[in-house]
Amino acid sequence: MAIETRPPHESDLETIDINVNVGPQHPATHGVFRMVLTIDGELVVDVDPVIGYMHRGNEKLPENCDYRQVIGYHDRTDYLAQFNTEHCYVEAVERLAGIKPPERAEYIRVVLAEMNRIASHLMFFGAFGTDIGLFGTSFMYAFRDRETIQDFFEEITGERMMYNYFRPGGVAWDLPDNFRQRCSQVLDSVERGVEQLDGLMMENEVVLARCRGLSPVTVEDGINWGLSGPMLRATGLKHDIRRAEPYSIYDRFQFDIPTGKQGDVYDRLVVRLEEMHQSAWIVRQALETMPEGPIMAEGLKRVLRVPAGEVYMRVESPRGEYGVYLVSQGSDKPWRHKVRGASFSNLSALRAMSVGNFVSDVIIILGSIDIVLCEVDR
């Protein structure tokens, strides 16, 4: 697409565009991502994103793994929202195999997935603060609270990042005895931290000056570019898969879907900040009503063989729509395993959003997409 954004030349001096490489080894690209910016002075006239540095064959590998072994690979796609990705995968397998997980397992999954959403958005605020020039401050604030959540997850699953905790049919083992009390304690402390982040960033004039009005996206554009998650909700569209197509037990909880007004970078911040409060609300509701009982569906075989068929399952991950497309031919391994990464689709809008802005603003726009490169490249 040709976007003519250059201001008319005022002098007769002959100027040329130059290419600037941002990345792949650059902290502002949030991973191993490379942008070739064509710049005219400070103005970006073209962006050429180069991806693929993190390609690990994460869709092909599971074709040689049985259904339980794949869970570990799903942790490694979106490594900031592992429970959400695991949730998507195990739900896909369960739908295909016709397994009904017990109530308690569903509650555990929802609680952990929502906690993970908070952790992921905290990570976003930390990294975004670094992008806009707050340097370490917001990063340290956000990481303090993310650490609390990670410690909490470690007490449950034993791991800090790659949990491998959900299983087709339930979860791997039961929660600790003091779970309810511990979870509310963590939530309280995290919500205090979120308040601090709010105070640090949201009304700060420096943040406002850099983010407000930057790269606004209309609802139509957002849909056409395939945006999802907070990126799409920031444009003003009230679309959340937890509400639009309720999976697991999300239809039992009350929560609001925060939306922005004009889809600019600031709205994306606001939407994510509000989503953390909504997630905390969902967790509190789930904690109140969480039943006791078994954590694994009964009558499963030693080796899980899934009947032939195909399924597409999508969940609302912190970055947007995370989907798993599974094709089974009746064996104990998936025949085809496709992942729809939310970051990948959101990243595809980068060029349209950033052409016409200044170089420093492009870094912010990239940061506001909240990409995880392992999910982009898979």
Binding site: D66, R104, E154, Q196, N204
Partner: protein, 231 residues
């Protein structure tokens, strides 16, 4: 202007509170009981041999193929000291490759392997990558010396694997009683088991547990092998 002041107020508040940083490595957090370090093997103090029979279930289910296991005839069985007909001969785990997914622990029929929940399970700096390939003595050392006090092994995946853990009739009765006391599925994970390092017997006594009470013995395991080998 007000917004900036608010931000500064937040910063000042944060400057006055206690630091949250832990000065690792001079100061170490206590690891939670469930902490998943790298896998180690357990030592049966009653008979003075490893629990592991070398049945290779863990090696087959490992997603990253980091294990190599071989089996041999158990000399203690010939001497009449042990019930294990076969025993592990060689066991290698490439720690550099292991992704700590816990699947080996889940599928083990003999409660022979656990994830190390001590600091030794995670602090594994070596000068050479080859030094991270652990052999049998290295894998058993933690359990043998008693450094690994209370490993975590929930009776997890029981339903998934269809496996009933080995139990004597007395044990099964005791476990059934315990299960009736427990409100929810599974033993309390954060109370260490009484008979360390032997892991908890499962709290649930499935109806087929008597029929499969022999499943825990090596012969039955070989039967399981064949059954599972079709996959």
């Amino acid at each position: 202007m007000l917004g900036v002041l608010k931000a500064i107020q937040t910063t000042v508040k944060a400057a006055l509170r206690k630091p949250v940083t832990v000065q690792y490595p001079t100061e170490k957090k206590t690891l939670p009981h469930r902490s998943r370090g790298l896998p180690v093997l357990l030592w049966d103090f009653d008979i003075n041999e490893p629990f592991c029979t070398g049945c290779q279930v863990c090696a087959r289910y490992c997603p990253v193929d980091c294990m190599t296991v071989t089996m041999k005839d158990n000399p203690n069985f010939a001497a009449g000291k042990s019930k294990r007909k076969k025993i592990v001969d060689k066991f290698y785990i490439d720690y550099a490759r292991c992704m700590r997914c816990d699947i080996c622990v889940e599928v083990c029929n003999f409660d022979a392997i656990v994830m190390n929940n001590t600091w030794q399970g995670v602090e594994l700096s070596r000068y050479d990558r080859q030094d991270l390939v652990m052999d049998l003595p290295a894998l058993l050392r933690q359990s043998k010396t008693g450094e690994l006090e209370t490993p975590f092994r929930e009776p997890m995946g029981v339903a998934h694997s269809g496996w009933a853990p080995r139990m004597d009739e007395e044990e099964a009765a005791a476990a059934a009683e315990a299960a009736s006391l427990e409100k929810h599925h599974g033993t309390s994970p954060d109370k260490p088991s009484l008979s360390a390092p032997t892991p908890d017997p499962t709290a649930e006594a499935p109806p087929e547990s008597k029929a499969s009470a022999e499943q825990g013995t090596p012969e039955a395991a070989e039967g399981l092998e064949k059954e599972g080998g079709e996959g």
